[in-house]
Amino acid sequence: MNIIGGNDNGPGCGFLSSREVDALIEGRLGARRAGLFDAHRDRGCGECLHLHAAAESFREILEHGVLEAEQTAFARIRRSVEVRLGQEVDRLQEGSGRSLFGRPWGVGRGLSADELEQIAAAGQSDLDEPVTDEDDPAEPEQE
């Protein structure tokens, strides 16, 4: 379930399928569906207005790059994020009883239930891979 009025199809209200959302983000949604999506938003669907605005912004950045002020601000914080990511990779490698990366890393310790669940899910073989669209990132958290 998506946050408000959404469904398992992914972001938006479900008017666009998960594949169509990917196409929207990548700017290759077919003209007929794009027209219908425009009309749908014109009727005021909040989910899809948010999704469309975000997809436009993302495409704008992909196509035109970031602004100088954004690049400068990012450069200032970049190193600290890299350090944090390194810690996170180390933590998952050292702390996981089940392999995240296809090899054993030792006995699990100190991970949250959520992290353990993620690792357990990651350790599933392709044989028990769910048939649902698993590349869909987890839906927004519920409160």
Binding site: I25, G46, H50, F74, P137, E143
Partner: protein, 206 residues
């Protein structure tokens, strides 16, 4: 081949991460490629550099945790966008800035602040329903902070000081600056029937 001119493509980096051959190098390369873009996405979408920094860091921690399950049914960057969008949606939910959570009735004082003084203007001739739909389209294009301040101020009668505190705004002008900026953008958007340039386009042309 996935590697030309020394540039390794996303799919190869994802496979390297998943195989465990050198996950840190792979994630560092992906962060190097997309980190500034996702930071810009959050900064434009939220309107607050500090919160954008935090969300951007959280995003890549989430990437590390979720990448083992990524099977490449979409491109990495599309998957990354969807993950980033989820982070933005979570913020929107916490701040109660989702359009579908707002009352249908547009507050009168808000309309007054948005409509031109000239009562013969096209905006004044629109029906209430049309105005409402137009307003929703324009609100969706605002950064989260500005939308949060406008909705808080007009729809929930929260004071600007309280909004500054609730949103933990670090800007010295607090919510007042966001209110003024948001009103200006909304007014411009309403005059353009909801099709005014987005903030990204506006920023680029200035």
């Amino acid at each position: 081949m996935s590697e030309t001119s020394g540039v390794v493509d996303d799919a190869t980096l994802v496979k390297r991460f998943q195989s465990g051959s050198d996950p840190m190098e792979a994630i560092a390369a992906l962060f190097d490629r997309y980190g500034a873009m996702t930071y810009a996405f959050f900064r434009r979408g939220i309107g607050d550099p500090q919160i954008a920094e935090e969300l951007n860091q959280d995003l890549y921690v989430e990437v590390i945790k979720s990448l083992p399950r990524f099977r490449g049914r979409s491109s990495f960057k599309t998957w990354l966008f969807r993950l980033a969008y989820n982070h933005l949606s979570n913020l929107r939910r916490r701040w109660r800035t989702h359009l579908d959570e707002q009352p249908v009735e547009v507050p009168e004082d808000m309309l007054e602040s948005l409509l031109p003084g000239d009562e013969d203007s096209p905006e004044h001739r629109l029906s209430r329903e049309a105005l409402y739909l137009q307003l929703r389209k324009c609100l969706a294009r605002l950064p989260e902070v500005e939308r949060a301040v406008i909705l808080g101020r007009y729809y929930r009668n929260v004071t600007l000081d309280e909004l500054t505190r609730q949103l933990e705004l670090t800007n010295p002008s607090g919510a007042r600056a966001s209110l003024i900026a948001g009103q200006r953008k909304l007014k411009k958007c309403m005059e353009g029937s909801g099709e005014e340039p987005s903030e990204d386009e506006e920023r680029r042309s200035s």
